[in-house]
Symmetry: C2
Subunit: 357 residues, 2 copies
């Protein structure tokens, strides 16, 4: 177990060494640590070496100056100046919150950004303002639309955070694919098979080999097959792609720049960088905020007391496992994978940052 603050400060220093200003470096490492605390290590410190590699090779602009433009009473576009995703996304979500303060709701379409980490983090920024926060982005084209043999869309996550009263907020944060890429990779590394309904090979045939992704295969949308509703997962990924790319002028579907440095950037891209879409809705622009939050308490307790299915304890409220993990790891510290620790130590050596452990 390590203290999250120590890792966060080390990550901040490493980013500073790559030309990222202190404030922006702290925001970025804060988002990566938030993922660790919430037990989503696939979006945590593991990503730091990719971010640093992309900064060093000029794929990400360390000293980006995002430019926002108000386009109507309730809408904004923001050009991320090819900056670090967490920096751009934090600025965009703050703008949505500020805009909703005036207009009731506000919507920010973001272009020219990069991988932004966990979507839920941004939606949750709205909570303390008694707003519902919404966050989404497109991603590497690894997901095949229903009836496609090719990956054309990202795992395109959607996060919606809703304030409650005495209960903790409800935070839905999920990818629209049947499985996370990280889980496929893990099975591959362990040499295990993957159940059918998650991935297909490069010809679009069902596969139980988690290695197919590296051989032109793809992930199936949420729903897995047409019979079980994969067209619904595909619909969601499509809508998220359109809001995140076509509204702000970012790249869509197959043109989304890869968020890992070992995949090369396509030439002649139709848009600018990776896209995001954020929204904030003031509760009191619809109903009394206190009344709503009491209502959410009742909603949460009603779901929680549903009769459980055999072998289950009870219904889980969206965001509950991540919140419990966060409480635990804030107390006890986080546990980084061996591989991630080694990566971090290697980065410290190379960039002349004192290894803190």
């Amino acid at each position: 177990m390590v203290k999250p603050d120590i890792i966060r400060d080390t990550a901040t220093e490493l980013l500073c060494r790559c030309g990222v200003p202190a404030r922006e470096a702290a925001i970025t490492s804060g988002v990566l640590i938030a993922a660790e605390l919430r037990d989503i290590p696939s979006h945590g410190i593991l990503r730091l070496s990719d971010y640093i590699h992309m900064l060093e090779t000029g794929r990400i602009n360390p000293d980006a100056r995002p430019r926002a433009e108000q386009r109507s009473l309730s809408t904004y576009t923001l050009d991320g100046d090819n900056g670090l995703g967490p920096v751009v996304a934090t600025e965009a979500m703050k703008l949505a919150i500020k805009g909703a303060g005036k207009a009731g709701t506000a919507w920010v379409a973001v272009s020219n950004s990069n991988h932004f980490g966990i979507a839920g983090h941004y939606s949750m920024l709205a909570l303390k303002h008694d707003m519902i926060g919404i966050s989404m982005c497109n991603a590497n084209p690894l997901v095949a639309p229903t009836f496609s043999a090719e990956g054309m869309l990202g795992t395109n996550p959607l996060a919606v955070a809703v304030p409650a009263g005495e209960e903790a907020p409800l935070v839905a944060d999920f990818a629209t694919a049947s499985i996370a890429r990280g889980r496929v990779d893990l099975l591959d590394r362990k040499g295990l098979a993957i159940s059918e309904g998650f991935v297909q090979d490069c010809e679009g045939r069902p596969s139980s080999d988690p290695g197919v992704l590296k051989k032109g295969g793809s992930i199936l949308p949420l729903g897995s097959t047409r019979e079980y509703g994969s067209h619904k997962g595909y619909c969601m990924a499509a809508v998220i792609d359109i809001l995140s790319a076509l509204l702000p002028g970012a790249n869509f579907g197959p043109y989304v720049p890869p968020s890992v440095p070992w995949l090369t950037l396509k030439e002649d891209l139709p848009g600018k960088g990776t896209g995001h879409f954020f929204g904030a809705m003031r509760i009191d622009a619809f109903t009394g905020a206190e009344e709503f939050k009491k209502g959410m308490d009742v909603w949460i307790r009603t779901m929680r007391k549903a009769k459980p299915a055999p072998g289950q304890k009870r219904v889980i409220i969206p965001g509950e496992p991540e919140r419990l993990a966060e409480e635990r790891s804030s107390r006890e510290g986080i546990r980084l994978q061996e591989k991630v620790m080694e990566q971090l130590r290697g980065l410290c050596d190379r960039l002349n940052v004192i290894w803190p452990l």
Copy 2:
């Protein structure tokens, strides 16, 4: 085959006989016929006898006067006065479109409404204004959250309509459950089994009996099981329930009034009627509308030319099958099920409307 206009006019007359004013009756029958044209008969004329029964028994107010209130620059609430769902929803969506004209986007939370038919119909009203239209509602609690043995949420549909240029608009319109209730009923009537992963019995055990819904069983969320991501379908249904019920003050989850007359209304409901949530976003509140629509054409053509999976012709664009059905049935007429024809004829007899066929 029958001409849709004939059935629509007959449905309008029938509704008028129940005290619905002519304009409101025409809106309602128009939405039911739209479902028939788009080959979604489960939401079509089949529903008319339920609507009429609920009008006759006082469960729906025939002469409702919905009351809208602007709550911020971009938000409204609308109390449907317990009117017919299609009437209330049409008024709410028009308000969203008008509001977005001024504020860039507008959002309308609706309480005190009833079953509104196909969600896609309302989202599509935004298209000719060069807006993205969004429509959702909650419904009878037939869907079990992940790990629940009980139905606590509706099949809660979401529809998003996006304008394109030369191509037809993209219209995603889907329920967030693994299967439509209509399909389960159909298998039950035919005495066929249902594949596992769609329904469970009243104890929460997997079931292949489509009759379980009438014995306290429930439908599984999109994703079917926890392993395949049912928590994501549950998250979506939860968010739609919250926006449609808690923002406007309608009933949530298990308290949603049944949309069929043979289920009795619960007493001491926490909110008012069934809830909906609508949004409209002006394209030019983000980017040039013409540029966006050209981009949508490219998006659609890019997905369409993806390499197809074995045995498939090509990737289908959301809304394409429904649009093709609409073109065909506008030309050739619609085919009503025998049972629906009989129902309609019976209603004409009873309510003194001349049977037109």
